[in-house]
Amino acid sequence: MFFKYTRDFEKPIEAIEKRIEELKLSSASGHDVRREEIEKLEQKAKRLIKDIYSSLTPWQITLVARHPSRPYTLDYVQEIFEDFVELHGDRLFKDDPAIVGGLARLDGRPVVVIGQQKGRNTKERCRRNYGMPHPEGYRKALRLMELAGRFNMPLVTLIDTPGAAPDIEAEERGQAEAIARNLLFMSRLEVPIVSAVIGEGGSGGALAIGVADRVMMFEYSIYSVISPEGCAAILWKDGTKADLAAKALRMSAFDLMRLGVIDRIVGEPLGGAHRDPKTAAMNLKSAILDSINELSAVPSGELLQQRYDKFRRMGVFNEPRR
């Protein structure tokens, strides 16, 4: 069972929906008069969800992006692609379950798909390291990207990570080098690349699979240089000020669109992707298809130039006229 209502701001929705359930049960046992009341309540619930979700604070958006019932990479892979064959290992050290990837078909066409993977229960979360990859995860991703290049398959990456793993093993095996190498490689990969932030885009650990021709974000996902908690701990000297940091960092899809960092916002069903994963997946699929079709028409030399120019423009500074 999914935990539909784990966030405080979801509580009023929970109350109404529970009431609807109760009424439905009792009307099933013969009390037909309740139908009108149920419809009224359903309308009310819809309005309430719309109200709540149209005025989420940046911190609340962060909580939706990290919602324990939010669809993860493999959920989307299953809905969006056909014939998915998962491939494993970096051929150097081991297989990292925090990154999954493989071959699949998108609307009939072979592609390579890669994404960070979070776990649904305690055991899985632990095995997937909460979606925080080690260097071997990024090196597996690199191997799959090379495959995409060699067999001329478009690359789709789904981003969902709090960040790259910060621990002794990661440092020992060159976390920084693994990320850097992917940034460099992706900038020159001669196939269309589409990246979508489906939940959390946590810093360099996210960008390491995110140097793409088209970068999109789900409406309630986040993408940031540092987690709001981390930022709060450093700049406010108080990790509990994460709500303030979330606001200051401007990490919502709308902020990133305004800053010119992403190309498209993918709409989520009413109340967030976790309330209707199938609709979320269909929205994402059509956005990815649009982009791949558009990019497939561009000759590869031009594609690389456009990708270079896209990231080359990023940044804001002042240069006095000479």
Binding site: A164, P166, D167, I168, A170, E171, E172, R173, G174, Q175, A176, E177, I179, A180, R181, L183, L184, F185, S187, R188, S203, G204, L207, A208, G210, V211, Y223, S224, V225, I226, G230, C231, I234, L235, W236, K237, L244, A245, A248, L249, R250, M251, D255, L256, L259, V261, R307, Y308, F311, R312, M314, G315, V316, F317, N318, E319, P320, R322
Partner: protein, 282 residues
């Protein structure tokens, strides 16, 4: 992405020891109290234990390049508060304070870049200024690095970057993260063109700087005992709740784990760079 307080790494004396101001310094490593002039004569390296003190970007340029050969590029690029970022202080105010710091010549952001000669060989060079907001990388740093790489590509001239940075600049949010992609893409072109690219990692080099152009050198050099890593030691300690091993994330540790090519003493840096460039340039 750690934010080192400047005082942690500046060479100001430990407050528990009474030292006549300005004349003597206490070594951060061996705690020896040394005559300041003696340290300076030794290129800011402790004569007792070889600890490499912080030096400014301009001092670094003076040590590495042939005298009078340096020509600065893009020195007038200024940071902008694009996010209107405010924590306990406004980013604007932090920038103003950083601009008031008396470093000579004045630094407008955390990097100095340009071109010059190393034993007569022309190089493009960028050097981080750690005293400016912890050497953090925002749009100006990313832009200046990208331009120096593009100039290297244009003039077919080797590129050298001296890093010293706490990582990306939080106050520029996602824009600072994107500098990692921008600089790495430029390096990819440099590599394809077969132009030598050398990085020298100095204390400390962490976060987004390490995870982009710092670790992409054809040759990666580090100064002795420099702290080099992706996550900062404090973040790792808080995550794993264990004591970190002795020497963890120091240059010697990285050399042992195959992450860098060599550790070079400051006194030998210019000679080493000159030799490498002449070997790579054929």
């Amino acid at each position: 992405m750690i934010w080192f307080k400047k005082s942690l790494f500046s060479k100001k004396e430990d407050s528990t020891v009474r030292i006549p101001h300005g004349l003597w310094v206490k070594c951060n490593h061996c705690s020896e109290i040394i005559y300041k002039k003696e340290v300076e004569r030794n290129l800011d390296v402790c004569p007792k234990c070889d600890y490499h003190f912080y030096i400014s970007a301009w001092e670094r340029v003076g040590i590495v390049l042939d005298e009078g050969s340096f020509k600065e590029h893009d020195g007038d690029l200024e940071p902008v508060d694009a996010l209107e970022f405010k924590d306990l202080k406004r980013y604007k105010d932090r920038l103003r304070a950083a601009h008031r710091e008396k470093s000579a010549p004045r630094a407008l952001d955390a990097i100095v870049s340009g071109e010059g000669l190393i034993n007569g060989q022309r190089v493009m060079i960028a050097v981080f200024e750690f005293s400016f907001m912890g050497g953090s990388m925002g749009s100006v740093v990313g832009e200046k690095i990208t331009r120096i790489i593009e100039r290297g590509l244009d003039k077919r001239c080797p590129v050298i970057i001296f890093t010293s940075s706490g990582g990306a600049r939080m106050q520029e949010g996602i824009l600072s993260l994107m500098q990692m992609a921008k600089t790495s893409a430029a390096i990819a072109r440099l590599k394809e063109a077969g132009i030598p690219y050398i990085t020298v990692l100095t204390d400390p080099t962490t976060g987004g700087v390490t995870a982009s152009f710092a670790m992409l050198g054809d040759i990666i050099i580090a100064e002795p005992r420099a702290l080099i890593g992706f996550a900062g030691p404090r973040v790792i300690q808080e995550t794993i709740r264990q004591k970190l091993p002795e020497g963890f994330q120091r240059a010697e540790y990285l050399l042992e784990h195959g992450m860098i090519d060599m550790i070079v003493d400051r006194k030998m840096m210019k000679t080493t760079l000159a030799r490498l460039i002449s070997l790579l340039a054929g």
